[in-house]
Amino acid sequence: MNVQVKNLRKEFGKTVAVDNISFSFGSGNVFGFVGPNGAGKTTTMRIIATLEEPTQGDVLINGVSVCEEPELARRTVGYVPDTLPAHADITVHEYLDFYARAYGLRGKKRAQAVGAIEEFTNVTGIREKNIKALSKGMKQRVSLGRALVYDPDVLILDEPAAGLDPRARVELRELLMLLAERKKAILISSHILTELTEICNGVVIIERGKILETGTIDEVLKKGASRRTVAIRLLDGQTPQLLKELLQTPHVANARIVAGEIHFELSADESAACEILGELIAKKFKIIEFRQTKANLEDIFMTVTKGGVQ
């Protein structure tokens, strides 16, 4: 199963929500979709889920166009929106049963599918509860169950972790890993970037409808490797002198004091870091800690995005 987003553009009046973006992801992959609020993530996801029609471009799900054959495409896509189910007067079991019916599951097959999904999403204990009475985390599970009940090959999850407590977030992460093992192609948007780094194979960073970075997590992190951050802790009060020294050192930028330590960005490889350490020791600086931290997704996100909305 392969999902190809091709030159997608969506306009709402004069606002360009998505501006000619292209990327692809496949089975067994969890693809992170990252961007500030108003970047066009939800619009893109809604187009993939056939809720919106693009102004230009297309999304092909194993060759099936979401514009030309939305009914066919829908059979393969499970969509978890950023809003939670708010149906009145319906229990969890009835809600899942309805969607199983809606997607054409019949008789025993339907009962088995609903039972299995209730077990998988761990909602068996609350199956007879009214949806409106559920907590946010439970509603999120039901929403995920709804998207999974007809066993789609592609999962589109829009901010599934928003508002969940730490335990629910860990459980959700485990569920997603299980789903990836089951060869689902997953596109997930989230603002909790550290979590995405742990579960995603690939990432797309988007802002103002345009893609800023895309690739596998390793590729994106590698691009950010040239922007490694170094922290130095000294034994005594030599901090101002060291700061002065560092500001004159080549490849060093943005040197500053953070909580008694000196942090700076080094735009060179590890050997340059090694040379700097040697020079500092030679100059009698009493260094008790010299550590470098590789840029994580959050650093890269902060570097490439400008926080612009439209």
Binding site: T50, N62, E68, E69, L72, R75, T83, E94, A102
Partner: protein, 505 residues
């Protein structure tokens, strides 16, 4: 054709696997759990119970035998039933659908693999089931009236049948209104308006039911005319329900779908059947004037269709383009019936022209095949031509303005512009003339060329002639101005090049 037949055959062969429409199951489950439905039902039963006890207690104080007690009680029960079902069920259905179809966040059921038709049918059937529930709750009380005097069973069944059809029609109307792409405050206003407007349906309905009860329908049922009349009224009602159903389906279909096709097909079929029915009535009653029922209704419907048609986008989605027939013979009807303003204009023009032609043809038989009717001859043909000409002229003008000056705005602006232009030219000169003529509306009856409504309010019939010519000249100019656009639409109406169909693994 063969594929459709095979699909139909396999559908009936596997009847054991048939299941209820999922929307019906969901809606009924929700209705059963809903405090609103159970609360109203309990209130309804309580009112019925109190009414029956009240009747019986008051009767026990009277010495004489009341010959009309049964019909009086039945009339009261019908009033309560009509009130409860007409005021509550359409409102309940409408609110449910509105809540699911919020503009910003429509429920995911509308993007499941359920077809729009299945969804609307499900909602409608749910309404019908709830109606049956209310009727069956009332049934023991009504059965009791049959034990008293003054009620005949055929009248009871007939009245309940008519009431059931009315409630179902209103349910469909509520579904249609709830599907309109309007904001929540607008929908609330419509719901409020509909609620109060329902009283205007309940009052004549109940009055009619009581009259029928007293006149006794049983005797009328032996006559053939009764059944022909009933069938015509029921048929016309079903046609309206069908139209609302088709409109609702079109409204909830995705923008890329061929929304116009089922709607235009449905209206065309109903128009043909309506024409045949009217011809049948003309033949049966020997009065050519009966043809006008069909003519007027077609005229009103097609003017409404014209507004919707000019609101169509010129751009055909890829889904629609793929379904354009490759042969010329198939492409001509497809152009007329598929999405698109240009084809829609041809469709409206064809239906109106044929309606006019058939009506004139039937009127020509007045005094030859049929007995002479004085008023039929007096029917002025100019109003039809003038108003149709004006409507098309306004529509084409609006299309031109939209295309030339407001191309960035949605196509529905063209429909809105048509109404605005008509309204402005009808109201502004009248207001000016009102003040010029010392606060008198007399000038409205004078000649106001370009005012479509003026055609109906002329003092001098001769002026209608001027209207006709003015409308036709204006229309001819607009046709010339829009000719290039129309030709482009015709040229672009072709299927995309063939390629391998997509395959899902």
């Amino acid at each position: 054709m063969t594929t459709a037949f095979i699909r139909l055959k396999s559908h009936f062969a596997n009847w054991r696997d048939w299941e209820l429409n999922p929307v019906v199951v969901k809606e009924l489950r929700q209705a059963v759990r809903s405090w609103t439905v159970t609360g109203v039902l309990l209130l309804f039963l309580t009112v019925l119970f109190i009414a029956s006890v009240g009747f019986l207690v008051s009767q026990s104080f009277e010495g004489d035998v009341n010959e009309e007690l049964g019909s009086t009680m039945f009339g009261t029960f019908v009033t309560i039933l009509a009130g409860a079902s007409i005021l509550f069920i359409p409102l309940y259905l409408g609110i449910r659908i509105s809540a699911e179809r919020q503009e910003s966040n429509p429920d995911l059921l509308y993007v499941s693999t359920l077809t729009p038709g299945q969804i609307i049918r499900g909602k409608f059937l749910c309404g019908a089931y709830i109606t049956v529930l209310f009727f069956s709750a009332c049934m023991p009380f009504m059965a009791f009236t049959n034990l008293l005097r003054g009620v005949d069973l055929p009248s009871v069944f007939f009245i309940l049948f008519v009431l059931f059809l009315v409630v179902c029609s209103l349910n469909q109307a509520a579904i249609f209104l709830a599907c309109l792409p309007l904001s929540r405050p607008f929908k609330n206003l419509i719901a409020l308006y509909g609620f109060f407007q329902s009283f205007w349906i309940i009052v004549p309905l109940v009055f009619g039911a009581i009259t029928m009860m007293h006149s006794g329908i049983g005797t009328m049922m032996a006559e053939r005319n009764f059944w022909i009349g009933t069938a015509t009224v029921v048929g016309a009602g079903l046609a309206v329900v069908g139209l609302l159903y088709a409109l609702s389906v079109a409204l909830i279909s995705p923008p890329s779908a061929n929304r116009a096709l089922p709607l235009r097909l449905y209206i065309t079929i109903v128009w043909v059947l309506g024409g045949l029915l009217s011809l049948g009535w003309v033949w049966w009653i020997k009065d050519v004037r009966l043809m006008f029922v069909w003519t007027y209704l077609t005229f009103a419907l097609m003017l409404f269709a014209l507004l919707l048609t000019v609101s169509n986008s010129d751009h055909l989605s890829r889904r629609v383009s793929r379904r354009i027939p490759r042969s010329w013979a198939g492409r001509i009807p497809a152009f007329i019936l598929f999405n698109g303003a240009a084809g829609g204009l041809v469709w409206v023009a064809l239906i109106l022209a044929l309606t006019y032609g058939v009506t004139r043809g039937v009127l020509a038989l007045d005094g030859t095949w049929f007995p002479k009717t004085s008023s039929a001859a007096a029917e002025d043909r100019h109003w039809f031509v003038a108003t149709t000409g004006y409507a098309f002229a306004y529509a084409l003008t609006a299309l031109f303005i939209h295309r030339k000056f407001l191309p960035k705005y949605a196509p529905k602006i063209a429909g809105l512009l048509t109404v605005l232009l008509m309204g402005v030219w009808a109201i502004l000169p009248s207001i000016v003339l009102f003040f010029l003529n010392q606060l008198s509306w007399k000038a409205v009856e004078g000649l106001q060329l370009g005012n479509i409504f003026n055609v109906f309010y002329l003092r001098d019939d001769e002026h209608r002639y001027y209207h006709t010519w003015f409308a036709l000249v204006w229309l001819a100019v607009m046709i010339l101005i829009n000719a290039k656009w129309f030709w482009t639409q015709v040229k672009h109406f072709r299927p995309p090049p063939l390629h391998e169909p997509p395959v899902l693994e």
